[in-house]
């Protein structure tokens, strides 16, 4: 289900960085969130213990997925919730469309759900002539602009208030040039309030589904999931199957980690526990696979399914902060997206695991201890094994490996290389050499270390 982008991450990143002041602003804004996360983490002496527990609980869940899902379904049905299973995004969308048709509803609100982005639900329903209103403020902004979220927690983080002002002027009739955040937020509030009151069906995501209770928890800062679910007569909650946790008491670990990791808040403003439909309401849960069981079967990559979508890895990632979310051409961008998306479509996303320096900061901030940077390395191996590397790169790497495997050839090549840099600098200092575009070449010394060693040390 991934989109076939006609650009690579590197190309999109170069375009993004061309506006350097805006890149600096984007970088600083997200770094500020990373710093808030650090402050929140350092305020809990037991932080590393919590991460370990979260990781262990999730591992347990991945190892016992079958039983947990069976238990969850049984308990949810007993609570009066209707449970649906979707093998992929298409089936997920069709299930939702059928519920819409069966109930003949037209006014639909949706709170933030990265799963529905992954399944391209909005496009699907729009094609069917069904209007769906995103109620998360950031998502509503990007929806107006016909864009996709650039960040899984802060969907409109790529936009400045001036951009929002223009968008609202066009779609909500706010004053032109009024960039006051208070004014703009109030306009959005009024607009969304009308949508909530009129809504007949509310779609939400799921942050945690609890196997032992058959209930689920949705976390928002805006209360929009609650507004939707409480006003509409039908509530559909969509979840990837990996959202399951065994027991309600485990929420005590995850809810403490989630918001601290995401934004540095002790907890999300709203952590709403749904367990059964109220009188006269329908409650549905759509449990989606969409490649997850394939990922579960990949030993090296299965632990990516521990992800709780906090986006801490986005905020710390030096590449993401300087390339923007849209450079990832996928619903879930950033480091976690770069290890999840090759599973969904390796060919379309073969550039993503390479868009990293493997610095390891992403793994360190991860509240469930996913070894993200190690998986990036492993995806690189998979992608070249599948023959998806560019021919030129494969040839260059082969040449390099041959030179480096043979000491005498290596020494000759090194000598030639140094000679070229010194005497024929135009061969390296030109537009064909990406290093030289914004960097000088290192100076070539007259002798290698080995030469020096032989002349001065080896007697």
């Amino acid at each position: 289900m991934s989109s076939q982008a006609n650009f690579t991450h590197a190309e999109a990143a170069e375009q993004f960085i061309a506006d350097e002041p805006r890149t600096d602003w984007h970088d600083d804004t997200l770094w500020f969130v990373r710093e808030k996360r650090d402050k929140a983490a350092h305020s809990l002496p037991e932080w590393e213990q919590l991460r370990q527990w979260a990781s262990d609980i999730k591992y347990h869940g991945l190892s016992n997925m079958h039983q947990l899902l069976v238990d969850f379904e049984k308990n949810a049905i007993a609570n009066g919730i209707q449970v649906h299973w979707a093998v992929d995004g298409k089936e997920h969308n069709e299930i939702i469309y059928k519920i819409i048709q069966d109930n003949q509803v037209q006014r639909i609100v949706k709170s933030k759900s990265m799963l529905t982005e992954e399944c391209h639900l909005n496009e699907f329903l729009t094609e069917k002539g069904v209007e769906i209103v995103d109620t998360d403020l950031g998502e509503r902004i990007v929806q107006f602009r016909k864009e996709t979220p650039s960040h899984i927690v802060l969907p409109a983080i790529h936009l400045k208030k001036q951009d929002v002002s223009e968008t609202f002027h066009e779609h909500l009739g706010t004053e032109k040039g009024n960039n006051d955040p208070q004014y703009l937020t109030e306009a959005a509030r009024g607009h969304l309030r009308d949508k909530f009151i009129a809504s007949e069906l509310a779609i939400t995501g799921v942050n945690f589904a609890v196997a032992e209770t058959g209930g689920f928890v949705v976390c928002t800062n805006e209360g929009n999931a609650d507004m939707g679910a409480h006003a509409a007569k039908i509530h559909i909650a969509c979840m990837g199957f990996e959202k399951i946790i065994p027991k309600a008491e485990h929420l005590g670990v995850f809810l403490r980690l989630l918001a601290r990791s995401a934004t540095g808040q002790p907890i999300t403003t709203y952590s709403s526990h749904f367990s059964k439909p109220r009188a006269g309401q329908q409650m549905h849960i759509v449990i989606v696979d969409n490649g997850r069981s394939r990922q579960l079967g990949r030993e090296s990559f299965r632990n990516s399914l521990k992800c709780i979508r906090c986006a801490a890895c986005f905020n710390t990632w030096p590449v993401y902060r300087r390339s923007g979310g849209h450079s990832y051409h996928t619903a879930v961008a950033g480091p976690i997206g770069s290890i999840l998306n090759p599973n969904l479509d390796m060919q379309a996303n073969k550039d993503l695991p390479f868009a990293s320096t493997l610095c390891g900061s992403c793994s360190n901030v991860c509240p469930v201890k996913i070894n993200i940077h190690e998986q990036l390395y492993l995806w690189r191996q998979e992608i070249t094994k599948e023959g998806m590397a560019a021919k030129g790169k494969t040839f260059a790497m082969w040449g390099m490996s041959e030179v480096l495997a043979h000491p005498a050839i290596y020494r000759m090549a090194g000598k030639m290389g140094r000679w070229v840099v010194k005497h024929l600098p135009f061969l390296t200092n030109n537009g064909m050499n990406p290093w030289f575009k914004q960097r000088e070449m290192p100076e070539a010394p007259k002798e290698s270390f080995r030469d020096w060693y032989l002349n001065n040390k080896k007697k």
Partner: protein, 245 residues
């Protein structure tokens, strides 16, 4: 104590002074050092580009050169990490295992094995310490800003033993410089932007030099500094620890 000196390929070819300083420093500290003459590369450039299978020749050559030493020491966190995590040799698996457990980055070796508590070094300059990721997050040469854990820095500890030096750290104390191996050419725009941002923070500290444990990061930063016409120079930590200025 027999120490095999591993000088990564690009240091051998382009930064021989880093090798010289490492060798002299280890000898000053009483090690019996030899430089196996047929060494080349750890294989990381291929492996990190997804061509792990092509690094077998390098692995084999590495094992041949470094078998039998008590310790293998290199002035590079990144290459040492690669050896530690990925060195294999089907023909001589025991030797490869031994090497993986005996390979050390230079500052790690000085602090953890030699237990150096003082140095005869002086370097009267303002120096910004760049924390290289693979050494830090991979080899744990320093505490990491992301983790809730006590602060320490092996390179920092050694620099504090140098007379006359004034060490500063950038505002974002351990953000990556953007080198990243072949990343630096395949993601050129992001790579350079990351490097410029690191340099900017060192400039704010008015440093004379930027130092670190990895010449690769320093080479990348040096390339940008030179293009900018900056007076700031890069210098490997071995050269500072070995200097008598």
């Amino acid at each position: 104590m027999k120490v095999g000196l591993f000088i990564p390929c690009y240091i051998d070819q382009f930064y021989p002074n880093v090798g010289v300083a490492s060798l002299e420093l280890l000898e000053k500290l009483g090690c019996e050092v030899s430089f196996p003459l047929n060494q080349t590369c750890c294989g990381q450039p291929m492996a990190n580009s997804g061509f792990e299978a092509m690094s077998k020749g390098c692995d084999k050559n590495f094992v041949k050169n470094f078998k039998g030493f008590d310790y293998i020491v290199a002035p590079s966190g990144s290459c040492v990490l690669h050896i530690k995590e990925h060195l294999h040799d089907e023909e001589d698996p025991v030797a490869a295992d031994e090497i993986r457990s005996r390979v050390y980055e230079l500052t790690e070796f000085l602090v953890d094995v030699l237990k150096v508590t003082s140095l005869q070094a002086s370097f009267p300059f303002k120096v910004g310490l760049h924390t290289s990721c693979h050494g830090q997050r991979g080899l744990h040469l320093a505490s990491m800003s992301e983790l809730v854990a006590p602060a320490f820095s092996k390179p920092g500890t050694l620099l504090s033993m140098v007379k006359g030096i004034e060490v500063s750290r950038p505002k974002r104390v351990d953000e990556c410089c953007g080198f990243g191996g072949t990343f630096c050419v395949f993601e050129e725009a992001v790579s350079v932007k990351m490097g410029k941002d690191r340099i900017g923070e060192h400039k704010d500290n008015e440093v004379d030099f930027i130092t670190g444990v990895d010449t690769s990061c320093l080479m990348h930063l040096e390339g940008i500094l030179k293009r900018q016409g900056s007076k700031i120079k890069t210098i490997h930590i071995a050269e500072i620890l070995n200097s008598q200025l």
